[in-house]
Structures are given as C-alpha cells and as structure tokens.
C-alpha cells in the first residue's frame, strides 16, 4: 500500500486518500477498504439512503442492523445503529474536506 494522507476520522473509522493510486481508503476496523472515486460516491449514496429513523421503529428495522455491500459487492459489512451513524459522520466530514479544496486545509497530515 502506498503512503496515504488522512482526510477525516470519526469515532470508529478513518478516511484516507492515496495520491499515488488516485483512490481512497476507509479503515472500517475489521478491514481497510480501497475505493475508487465512483465507488466512494456510490457508498455515500447508500449511506445517505439509510433511514436511521427505521432503527428506532419496531416495524421499520426490528434488529437495528444494516447490511452494506461495498465496491460492487466485493465487501460485505453488517453495521449496527452506532456504526451507521458514525459512518454517516465520517463521510459527511470527508466530503466536506474534499469539496472545499485541499490546498488550504490543515486537516490532512502524512501517516
């Protein structure tokens, strides 16, 4: 794996960028997933489409788990309510940094 720069971290997860590979990585605890930009956009859309209200509604999502297939079903994760909320926070923060332009950002640092 080439050197990466951390873009944003949440309580459970971290989001990285690899300049060399022109892609992104998310450390999801159990494993680190490599995402192209398109796959990242797709993940963002999936996370945005999760209705967290359902987790607090007995009929909507009884168990409070979400099955998340990433990178065209290459990876499969089962996340609970806390983890979904944290992943939402991670992606919101990461996109905020990415969309603002990174040249002036003080957040990224070499790891």
């Amino acid at each position: 794996m080439h050197p990466m720069e951390i873009i944003h971290s949440s309580r459970f997860y971290s989001f990285f960028q690899s300049d060399k590979e022109r892609c992104f990585y998310i450390d999801l605890g159990q494993k680190t997933v490599r995402l192209s930009f398109c796959q990242l956009l797709s993940l963002r859309q999936k996370i945005r489409n999760i209705d967290i209200e359902d987790h607090f509604d007995g009929d909507g999502n009884k168990h409070g788990f979400e099955i998340l297939a990433l990178c065209n079903k290459e990876h499969l994760f089962i996340l609970n309510t806390h983890e979904i909320l944290d992943l939402k926070e991670l992606l919101v923060g990461a996109f905020l940094v990415l969309d603002m332009g990174l040249s002036t950002s003080s957040i990224p640092q070499k790891i």
Partner: protein
C-alpha cells in the same frame, strides 16, 4: 496533497445531489404524463392523449439529459424509483391544471439548483441548466394557453371535444 476528488469530478457534490433529485422529479413527471395520457385515451380525448404521450417522452428526455450530464462530469447518476402516480382525474380541465402545477414545481426545482450553483460557483452546472430555464418557460406557457381554452369555450359537452381538437403536439 492532490485534489483527486476535483480531478475526477467537474461539479460539486451538492450539485450532483440536487441534479439526482431532479432526475427523480423529471422521471416522476414523465410517468405522471403517461397516466394523464391513459385517462385521455380512455375518455376519447385523442388529441390530448397524443399531447400527453409526447409530454411523457419529453420529460424522459429531460431526465436523460441530466443523467448523462452527471455521468459526463464524473458523478454518479442514480436511476430513479418512481412510485405513487395518480391515475384518477375528474375532468380534462383538472388534468391540465395538474400538468401546469407539475411544471411550476419543476421550474421551482430547477431555479433552486441554479441558485445553489451560483452560490457555490459551480458554473458548469449553472450553464447546463440555462437550457432548462428556457424550456420550463415554454412548458408553463403551453399549459396556460390550453387552460385559457376552457375559459373561452366552456367546460361542457361539445366544448370539451372542440378544446381537445385544438390541442396540438408540438
């Protein structure tokens, strides 16, 4: 550090989200016009039916235009899920009133994206949407002109048949 996200996508993420919502709206408008065409066909308003079949196709072409734009810019266009289309109408006039309201809503949504793209300095999106701004003016005018016919010719019996005969597919 490189700005990889910017290298791979020419528009802002916020614009992409709003354009995806617009795809949904145009898709729904297309399906809604099909429902109107069906009602007109069933009630022997054949010119109106043709008009709405054409409108349905036009709305779909708008949807495709936005869809292609997002992907061409490196974004992620989402195929819309269309549900809850109303098929129940009480009159031909109600159908055209609904169509006008629908067009006004589409215009408002387009305007909201233009405003946001201006605010975000997303000039490619602003420029792309200028065609839609002009198109919406024409769409609203078409519906208003048809509704005027009801005022002029009345709403009963033969008047409705005469109105139907005057509705032209552009």
């Amino acid at each position: 550090m490189k700005d990889i996200a910017r290298q791979l996508m020419s528009i802002k993420v916020e614009s992409m989200d709003m354009l995806n919502a617009q795809i949904q709206m145009e898709g729904k408008a297309s399906a809604s016009y099909l429902a109107m065409a069906s009602w007109c066909d069933q009630h022997a308003y054949l010119q109106s039916a043709e008009f709405f079949y054409h409108q349905a196709s036009e709305e779909r072409s708008h949807m495709m235009k936005i869809f292609k734009f997002i992907n061409d810019c490196g974004g992620n266009a989402m195929s819309p899920e269309i549900t809850q289309i109303n098929h129940d109408f009480s009159s031909l006039e109600e159908i055209f009133e609904t169509a006008l309201s629908q067009e006004v809503e589409v215009t408002k949504a387009i305007n909201r994206i233009v405003a946001a793209s201006k605010k975000n300095n997303d000039y490619a999106v602003e420029n792309f949407l200028q065609w839609f701004v002009k198109e919406q003016l024409e769409e609203e005018k078409t519906m208003r002109d048809i509704l005027d016919l009801f005022e002029i010719m009345g709403r009963d019996g033969i008047a409705l048949k005469l109105i139907d005969e005057r509705i032209k597919v552009e």
